[in-house]
Symmetry: C2
């Protein structure tokens, strides 16, 4: 009933699944002939970062300057801060460069390129920069065929900054359905990055780095000609959304939330647990997929096998309502108050962010380590 | 353009608004003739707790044992842990009692009542307990007319525990629309708690405490006869959902997220900011209201006045997409990259949880203090 002697809710990280996910992506990068730059925005922990870079160059990507500081202090050297930088963050970035980090920034406008180069000159550093390219219209980036790409590249060539190449992220892969669409999106991502790189080179600008990636496109890419490095992060933990996309199976999901039944409401058809909105996040990514997993799939705490299609059907701040599908009934005798359960998350990046550490468990589901996370900004 | 010399995203707490919200609820409790027990699940900070208890008994409610430990260490004595306790949490609760805290637990079944009393006897403590009553079918609690209420009360009368009364929370107030429905829900909440208390007393059991509350019912209750204390928490910060319910106005919202424009996509109609899903949460509470505020209302960073009906229309982990309403256009000249903006949140409890501190600002919008939060479990 309570296999874990842990206060709930807490985040469990299944080490064998993590290892398997990391090895699979590591092999893919090798097979595709590109360097792997794991994105640590999901895991945000040193141990997972070391495991994910093993056998590769040691390069990583991060989503906040706080992560950059954390991983540099933890021994990582080659760090891409993969969110558009703004003038107000350059002093903090310069401090990392001065301490010896190989920190690379990204930006997506000639306006920002000029201010980064100017700040570099003022601060007495040279900011390495990748230009962010928009391959799918989903978020940030310069269109690969835009005159602004060359203008931004040239603005970086006047001291204070150094153009190192281009990067893109096909966020639209999350809207793809089926292997063929995902493979086509991977090709679209590749083609946009390569086109941008070729245009910069034709303009006489340097472009040694051509960086692409998202977990779905990294999983389904058929070729990466012209690309030098692959970035992905969600693959380490996987989640219900990735499983719904076909990127992994539910049995690959390495992150789960351990929770306890705190109340039972047979007249409502609910077990109530102590994993609510703060413990799971309010992410409902799977609502966009054919199989909507509501706020999460409920599993046996020991084996992590899904139980009778139970789902977290609603959340309040510290309460999670667990229900059975329409037409079926919870096996009430099996779940007295105090029963531990596990919940697989919609979106590992959001759920993991609720915790400052992972309880790492091994093949026997025994806690073997505590790994600290780097949260916030 | 950048009135605050702060790294973004960060949480701003407007001290004049906080004071005004606290004074309003404080007066309401006095007018209704009940004690106020502020719920600190939203603020999770000592300074806001001290302000909210000023002029009252000093009693507070919390949503995690970690909060109970944090507030006890910070000088609070009378603490209600207002989520159903389970056997696995009793040792931690007992440790607080042993240190001298007046910690009260809640539970909602005869089964848990028996195990709490048994644990109390084993651990050599007496657990003070309120029975949780279900007034609206929304979450946990024993129905006020159920035989289990008396059974649970009697299970607490055999040593190791002490029945102190009843509590209920009308979560269904969040589904009410209009002042009349809210006032009726407040009466339903009051009546359920009072009925449960009377039944316990008729059965010869003690019931000195009759505790009710939610921010909407506390705001709209017309009378609280038979009630001894009022619990509410969201009122301190307020949020877009409370404003949509009619509990407050947008100008009362004390919590906002300070963010920076990091990219501009005129062809998509977006400013992109560094306040994404982690900085704002994925809470979409206002989707259930007539005015859906999407992921938040975008305001001038200095004045906190809403700008041209701009909303956060989409979020990725570290990116917030800001758009204008259909048929209108962003005033692009006003928002170069680097511009600071503020975002009012859907749900303050969820947004505040992303931060480990508040940047407290005064009448002149000058940062005057940093207040630490107690997150996690």
């Amino acid at each position: 009933m309570s296999p874990f002697d842990l206060q709930t809710p807490c985040a469990l990280l299944d080490l064998p699944r993590l290892r398997r996910n990391i090895e699979a992506m590591s092999s893919r990068a090798r097979d595709l002939g590109v360097d792997l730059r794991p994105h640590l925005k999901t895991a945000k922990c040193l141990e997972a970062g070391r495991m994910a870079t093993s056998g590769h160059t040691g390069a990583i990507a991060v989503s906040t300057l706080r992560e950059a500081e954390f991983f540099f202090t933890g021994g990582f050297q080659d760090i891409l801060y993969a969110v558009s930088v703004v003038p107000g963050k350059l002093q903090r970035a310069a401090a990392l460069l001065t301490k010896g980090a190989d920190l690379t920034l990204i930006l997506d406008s000639a306006e920002t390129a000029r201010s980064v180069a100017e700040s570099g000159r003022e601060l007495g550093v040279v900011f390495p920069v990748l230009l962010e390219v928009d391959c799918d219209g989903e978020r940030a980036g310069i269109k690969p065929d835009s005159p602004e790409l060359i203008e931004a590249g040239r603005a970086l060539a006047r001291g204070g900054a150094e153009l190192q190449g281009v990067m893109t992220h096909a966020g639209a892969s999350y809207d793809c359905r089926g292997d063929e669409e995902l493979a086509a999106m991977a090709e679209q991502e590749r083609a946009a990055a390569v086109m941008a790189a070729e245009r910069l080179r034709e303009a006489g600008l340097p472009c040694p780095v051509v960086s692409v990636g998202s977990t779905p496109t990294a999983t389904f890419a058929e070729r990466l000609d012209g690309v030098t490095e692959l970035r992905a992060g969600a693959y380490m933990f996987q989640d219900l959304f990735q499983a719904g996309l076909g990127v992994c199976s539910e049995g690959d999901i390495a992150l789960s939330v351990l929770t306890t039944v705190i109340s039972r409401r047979p007249e409502r058809g609910w077990l109530i647990t102590d994993a609510g909105a703060l413990a799971l996040s309010k992410d409902r990514s799977t609502a966009a997929l054919p199989d909507d997993e509501l706020y999460g799939v409920v599993c046996d705490a020991h084996t992590c096998a899904p139980i009778d299609e139970l789902r977290v059907v609603g959340v309040n701040q510290e309460h999670g309502m667990v229900g059975a599908p329409a037409g079926s009934e919870i096996d009430w005798d099996r779940f007295p108050i105090g029963t531990q359960l596990r919940v697989l998350p919609n979106h590992a990046c959001m759920t993991a962010a609720a915790y400052d550490r992972y309880q790492v468990i091994d093949e026997d589901r025994a806690p073997v380590a505590i790994w600290e996370r780097c949260n916030r900004w």
